[in-house]
């Protein structure tokens, strides 16, 4: 039970005074956003309609202290569906700005910079879909150095920066190079006799059958999960080949549905170029495939893996070690 005395009537005005927040006034709480929300599919507790409703009612502390306001990754799947045309991620951003001023910080993993290694090439800053990374001069051991700096309140935790950093200076907690490498080695031990590694974006796993497949892959297939397909680097692929895999299937979201805006687009382009270079080196490009598990493709992951396995059977064994046969 919420008492009307708990309402802070000035809070909706405060939100509407922030850039983007003015749209709060037109929300009619229809809930279409919640039906379209990618985050909600993973975390049923999350509900953008509820947050907007609470903000409009003036439940100031409840909204600002809520972890939910940080979970919107501005994928904007709800935006075109909202009958009132509310850019909900902007309203969420306005609420977050107030929360930041009130001293709240984003919970959960964000990108961390190793300032000793960073050479300020700016790849991460250019790649970040959230403009969370800036190059700044800081003092290190009493001398100035230009390095990348992450605004933890803007970072959504996609790991695209981690994949794009040539010097390995920026990493996403939970999906750092070391952590992913360990996961890869564990998934494909030296005696592994499988042929296919599936690398799947956490957000593209919706259907129960797909999740079951990812958790208990069939014989010959291993599955690892990443924060976003944009986190996948060529080294994941070469490590799989080193471990005896004959093909890699990277599964991302539909370009329009990407939880992190740009991730699946980046992955698709990067893997395309990787495939061409591998093809030139005598490793069929078809061994490394990028595919999209869209919200309309629920339950198709097992079929996609089977298709890639069939493709690998057709291509025959891979002589990755260059010894003329598998050794």
């Amino acid at each position: 039970m919420i008492k009307s005395t708990a309402f802070d009537k000035s809070f909706p005005k405060e939100v509407m005074a922030e850039p983007g927040g003015e749209q709060l006034v037109v929300c009619s709480s229809c809930g279409t956003c919640a039906a379209a929300c990618v985050v909600r599919q993973q975390n049923p507790e999350y509900n953008p309609r509820r947050i907007l409703r609470m903000a409009a009612l003036g439940l100031r502390e409840k909204v600002l202290s809520s972890e939910e306001i940080w979970q919107c990754s501005a994928c904007d799947d709800c935006y075109p569906r909202c009958p009132k045309g509310i850019h909900i991620s902007e309203v969420m951003g306005a609420i977050r700005q107030i929360a930041i001023r009130e001293g709240y910080t984003r919970p959960g993993a964000t990108a961390q910079v190793n300032v000793n290694r960073c050479v300020a090439c700016g790849m991460c800053a250019a790649a970040c879909p959230y403009e969370a990374i800036k190059l700044e001069e800081i003092m290190i051991r009493r001398s100035p150095k230009r390095v990348a700096q992450v605004d933890p309140n803007l970072c959504a935790g996609c790991g695209i920066c981690n994949a794009v950093c040539p010097s390995g200076s920026i990493s996403l907690e939970g999906y750092t190079d070391r952590e992913v490498h360990d996961v890869l080695l564990e998934a494909m031990p030296p005696d592994w006799s499988g042929r296919l590694l599936v690398i799947i974006c956490n957000w593209s796993l919706h259907a129960g059958s797909d999740i079951t497949f990812a958790e208990n892959p069939p014989e010959g297939v291993q599955v690892i999960r990443v924060s976003c397909s944009g986190r996948v680097t060529p080294t994941f692929v070469t490590t799989a080949f080193d471990r005896g895999a004959e093909g890699v299937l990277v599964v991302g979201c539909d370009e329009e549905e990407c939880h992190y805006r740009e991730g699946s687009r980046i992955a698709s382009g990067r893997l395309q170029v990787l495939g061409s270079l591998l093809d030139m080196m005598g490793v069929d490009a078809a061994r490394v495939r990028f595919t999209r598990l869209t919200s309309l493709d629920r339950g198709k992951l097992p079929t996609m893996a089977q298709e890639q396995q069939a493709q690998l059977s057709e291509l025959g064994p891979l002589d990755w070690k260059g010894t003329g046969g598998r050794s």
Partner: protein, 291 residues
Amino acid sequence: MSDRGNHQDAMRAAQTLAEMQPLLRETAHHLLSEGQVHGVLGFCETVTPGVVTPCLLRQPSECQKLVLNTACYHNLAGYLVGPDGLLKGARAERNAPLAIVARPGVLRTLVVLLQEQQIVREDIVVLGITDNTPIGLKPDVLLGELDRDFVGGSQHEELIARLQAMSTAERAAWWNARFAQCVRCYACRQVCPLCYCEQCVVDENLPQWIDKSDSVASNRTFLLVRAMHLMGRCVNCGACEAACPMHLPLGVLTTLLGKEVQTTLAFVPGSDGTQAPAALGCRIVAGRGEE
């Protein structure tokens, strides 16, 4: 030959390196004696005929040592960046910029380094040689115009066509024979002006993505990962191939990479200084790269 014809000859930009050499010496002498630059980064003769060495000249009297010929293939932009880069350190310590001799490939490299904010335009005076390709940097002094750069670029078109006509197995055999020769000296990485990371992924132990022993698989991975780290950045200057002691055809990979980047990202590194850097493929045109 009439006077007019001679006059026209004098007006047109030099088209051979030999023609450019006197202008280079004269310009370098002028810049140093006027104090407009604190040094000139170029090439000098060595005691061995036909072999040149990169040199940094600080005295006007030394400028007669400068040479310009097809042996000057080294990418001098590499000396500007990295932990020991000539432009590193407090800018106030140098009261004048540094002049650099730049063939077309080096000019494009400078564009990428400027985009990646590794160098500052005011810190360099570019003594440039252009060719018929788009270059996103106007030299401060134009030494001349070549038909095409004498190293790098699309020197491997024929070989690439021949390799692409082969079957995958034939191509694998062709490349594996070459990967087997790689001694992992990392000369390609050392000379690359864009490999300015202070800690390289191949030297990394935790995690060790790339096996350090020189097997076919690990050498392939090394060259593949190096190419991918240059995606949307490599200007195909030819420095890596020229430096390779085993004469591996690294230009095939850099040329192919350039082509792929052009089709997937609609981006030619170094061709336009106003564009945002491609950031290893994060600037991809929507709808492209779909399998």
